[in-house]
């Protein structure tokens, strides 16, 4: 019943000229602030001048800005049909409710209200209701409200109460621009001067102009020859006389019309004098100037008598502008403030722009990446963590698509951080991947430093570039309101762009205190995968790997014994291995299951205690690098159950 918005009809594809600038500006304003700027907005113009295009562009732009808006486009006929259908079904009220809930109502061709009294009062009621509710209504017609025949006075005043704008026939420049764009869309190239000739002809509206273009496209395709400006006139049946074709509205030529003759005379002279190349350059200047670029290079061309390679110069200029646009877009993402620099608007200073962009690029160091020490290969897999690991693999295979976000939960020391970095490393292999992988504490610290240094924009830009964001220990966000706010925005932005998010937490997000509801709900929105206490398989794999790292042959008996020891986390296991390896080294004997048992269960050999330089300070030199104070590490203490058994003995 309701026509869908046609994606082709957007503001981007709308060629703006003097004749429709006001209408387009008003349309944009309405799309940006529905209900508050001009309500109702009434646009009228002759047929084929872009009413429907504008209407749909408003809908499209409003939808893009606020996807939640309820936008409805329909022609008056469809509206009438819907009304009749609902009345026939005895659902008149439902019909009214339906339209009163529309945030932006776009009604096309309201001139057909003539002689439809009941529809007029229905529309009046709807317009009132929508206005009261602050909802936007946009209408189009082929004439202004007072000129629609038989229209209710109240409706006239209601419709005229907002903004009434008209769109006129496009001027010559706009016509050329429209033809250029359409030819470009169709991938058709014409000889210089062809489109200009078409634009000079008198067409009542844009549709007819398109028809003419279609004929040319078809002709060129069929005949396999490129058309020149002269043949255009034959194909389109335009008068071959230059004067008549070049003058859109020739003055009536009565006998003895001296002015008409004079005009024809001038037209011929101007036509000869204004060379086509000047017109092309002039057009290019107009276009780029309109987009805010400096055009002195092209203007310099106009000063010359007969410059060589004009088209190449224009193309070169366009190329430079394109490059500037690229640079500006890149810089805008890294440092929005720097993108405002005027060098990005001056093709003569392209080198400076490149330098400025390079500077910004250097300044925007990539966010901290994953640690190379934690690889996915070295991650021990067993039944206790299988779910999490397979989720991690799925994330690596389809970043952003499968589980987004992935939240790894589990107690301390179960390998969450390892898995997080492992995912980060895998994701970082992708082309142009920028993986931000860091602890939440570091994230908070960076933000504080950025606020301190007054460069929050820069900080944001740095993370917005990231193709994946992995944060360790998300629970540390508790009470950090500003960081939560920033993360919330970053989260939404990255998720919208299908970029992967991975977090770790000690427990299920909804049990974490101090996190805002909106963050928690977003964390729960993906997959929460739990890591459990390591099972025997995991322990064996970890032990074997660690023993090999310590240059100890992983004897099955030793591995079995250690794996059977109670250990509620991988980290605890690491501590156990360090203890036995340390003991063996101190005694200078090979590590065996027996020695391990002696160290862990029985009395440690007397002479090893504090005798070796290795442990005199109470410090253990960790094989993984770094020095840790043993006394402070709870996981090195004898397990409670072990102690009970010991005491029983």
């Amino acid at each position: 019943m309701t026509s869908a918005l046609n994606a082709k009809y957007t503001f981007d594809t709308f060629v703006v000229g003097a004749a429709n600038r006001l209408a387009v500006t008003a349309g944009r304003t309405v799309a940006e602030n529905p209900g508050s700027a001009y309500n109702p907005l009434f646009v009228y113009s002759g047929s084929g001048l872009g009413k429907t295009h504008l209407l749909m562009a408003i809908g499209d732009a409003a939808k893009k800005l606020a996807p939640a808006l309820n936008i409805e486009y329909l022609t008056l006929d469809e509206y009438v049909e819907a009304f009749h259908a609902s009345v026939a079904a005895g659902q008149g009220d439902a019909f009214r409710r339906r339209f009163q809930n529309v945030d932006v109502l776009l009604v096309d061709d309201v001139q057909f209200l003539t002689n439809r009294k009941e529809m007029q009062s229905e529309l009046l009621r709807l317009t009132e209701a929508l206005q009261v509710a602050g909802h936007q209504i946009v209408l189009t017609s082929d004439r202004p409200p007072p000129e629609i025949a038989d229209l209710d006075e109240r409706l006239i005043s209601r419709l005229s109460g907002g903004l009434v704008v008209d769109m006129g026939l496009p001027d010559y420049e706009t016509r050329v621009a429209i033809l250029r764009r359409k030819a470009e869309e169709r991938g058709v190239r014409f000889q210089p001067g062809v489109l200009e000739t078409v634009a000079q002809a008198e067409f009542g509206n844009v549709r007819e102009l398109m028809g003419a273009l279609n004929r040319l496209v078809a002709f060129q395709a069929v005949n396999d020859t490129s058309i020149n400006a002269e043949t255009v006139k034959q194909i389109l049946g335009l008068a071959p006389a230059a004067a008549a074709a070049a003058e859109p509205a020739p003055a009536p030529r009565a006998a003895g019309d001296e002015f008409g003759e004079f005009l024809a005379d001038v037209t011929v002279t101007v036509g000869k004098a204004v060379e086509a190349w000047r017109a092309r350059v002039g057009e290019a200047v107009l276009r780029w100037e309109g987009e805010g670029y400096r055009t002195q290079r092209l203007e310099a061309l106009l000063q010359q008598d007969a410059p060589a390679a004009v088209d190449e110069a224009i193309a070169g200029f366009a190329q430079d502008v394109e490059r500037l646009k690229e640079l500006e877009a890149e810089v805008a993402e890294l440092d929005p403030q720097a993108a405002g620099d005027s060098v990005f608007r001056d093709p003569e200073r392209l080198d400076d722009a490149e330098k400025a962009a390079a500077k910004v690029r250097d300044g925007a160091a990539p966010p901290p990446g994953p640690s190379a020490a934690f690889t996915l290969e070295s991650y021990a897999v067993g039944p206790s963590n299988q779910v999490a690991v397979s989720a991690a693999r799925a994330v690596v295979e389809h970043p952003g698509k499968k589980y987004n976000p992935l939240v790894l939960v589990g107690k301390s020391g179960l390998g969450k951080t390892h898995l997080l970095h492992a995912i980060g490393l895998e994701l970082a292999r992708g082309r142009r991947a920028v993986v931000a992988c860091l602890s939440t504490q570091a994230f908070i610290d960076e933000l504080i430093a950025a606020i301190d240094g007054n460069r929050v924009d820069w900080w944001r830009a740095r993370y917005r570039r990231a193709t994946a964001l992995l944060l360790d220990d998300i629970h540390l966000l508790a009470g950090k309101e500003r960081t939560q706010e920033e993360l919330f925005n970053l989260f939404n932005l990255l998720q919208d762009k299908d970029r992967q998010l991975v977090f770790t937490a000690p427990a299920h997000p909804n049990t974490l205190s101090g996190l805002e509801e909106r963050i928690v709900s977003r964390l729960e929105g993906g997959l929460v995968a739990e890591l459990k206490e390591p099972d025997r398989d995991v322990k064996r794999a970890v032990l074997e790997r660690m023993l090999v790292q310590q240059n100890v042959s992983p004897e099955p008996a030793l591995v079995d014994y250690l794996a059977d020891r109670p250990a509620d986390s991988v980290r605890a296991l690491v501590g156990v291995v360090q203890r036995v390896v340390g003991a063996a080294a101190a005694q200078d004997v090979p590590l065996t299951a027996g020695l391990a048992r002696e160290v862990l269960e029985g009395q440690a050999p007397r002479d090893t205690r504090r005798s070796s330089g290795f442990r005199t300070s109470g410090l253990v030199v960790s094989s993984l690098g770094g020095i840790k104070s043993r006394e402070k590490m709870v996981w090195d203490w004898i397990d409670v159950t072990d102690r009970v058994i010991e005491e029983l003995r």
Partner: protein, 199 residues
């Protein structure tokens, strides 16, 4: 003054009708004004004394509409012919793209014609313009007067047209030769478009 503006796509021609007092400059403009459709002409500004002598200047804008994609406008000016209004003449002459010299064909006015022509030359020089480069046409007005009172176009050419520019005999009151003159000067002015230079 820029004759052709490629960026705004405008052509503006400023044409000044020059000549001795009472030679018929304003009459030329009045005739043109009467022939231009309402939609194409602006208000003719005429500042005249009670005896119909131009006190300051006449100004007639004409909009020729879109020509080859350019919105084309002609601005026609006259200068006051009397000797003592030279400052005004110089002012009006500033930025002129072309000059129509309207000569009075009466034999007794020859000296005035010559004097005015010299005055044109010196005023152009004041603006740094060489009279040899500025588009110029001559109009021998009042050719409808009795033969015995006037000089023939050939005689006037001998007397005034030492640069051998186009000359037109005219009867501005009845419109004869008025548009021919305008066409002549327009063509000269517009041909300079190709060179892309203005006065």
């Amino acid at each position: 003054m820029s004759l052709v503006n490629f960026t705004t796509r405008e052509i503006t021609c400023k044409i000044v009708y020059y000549g001795p007092g009472r030679s018929g400059k304003t009459t030329n403009l009045h005739y043109i004004y009467g022939r231009v459709p309402d939609t194409r002409r602006g208000r003719m500004v005429s500042l005249a004394t009670q005896t119909d002598r131009t006190l300051f200047f006449d100004f007639l804008p004409i909009d020729l509409g879109q020509i080859s994609g350019f919105s084309t406008r002609f601005q026609l000016y006259t200068v006051p012919g009397q000797v003592y209004y030279n400052a005004t003449r110089r002012l009006v002459l500033q930025g002129a793209d072309g000059v129509v010299f309207v000569a009075d064909s009466q034999a007794r006015q020859l000296d005035e014609n010559l004097e005015s022509l010299q005055n044109l030359q010196s005023n152009l020089l004041e603006h740094g313009v060489d009279v040899r480069t500025v588009p110029l046409v001559l109009q021998y007005n009042k050719q409808d007067l009795p033969r015995e009172l006037i000089l023939s176009p050939a005689d006037l050419d001998d007397a005034l047209n030492f640069r051998a520019v186009s000359s037109f005999s005219a009867d501005a009151l009845h419109g004869q030769g008025v548009f021919e003159t305008l066409k002549g000067i327009s063509e000269l002015v517009l041909k300079r478009l190709a060179a892309g230079t203005a006065v």
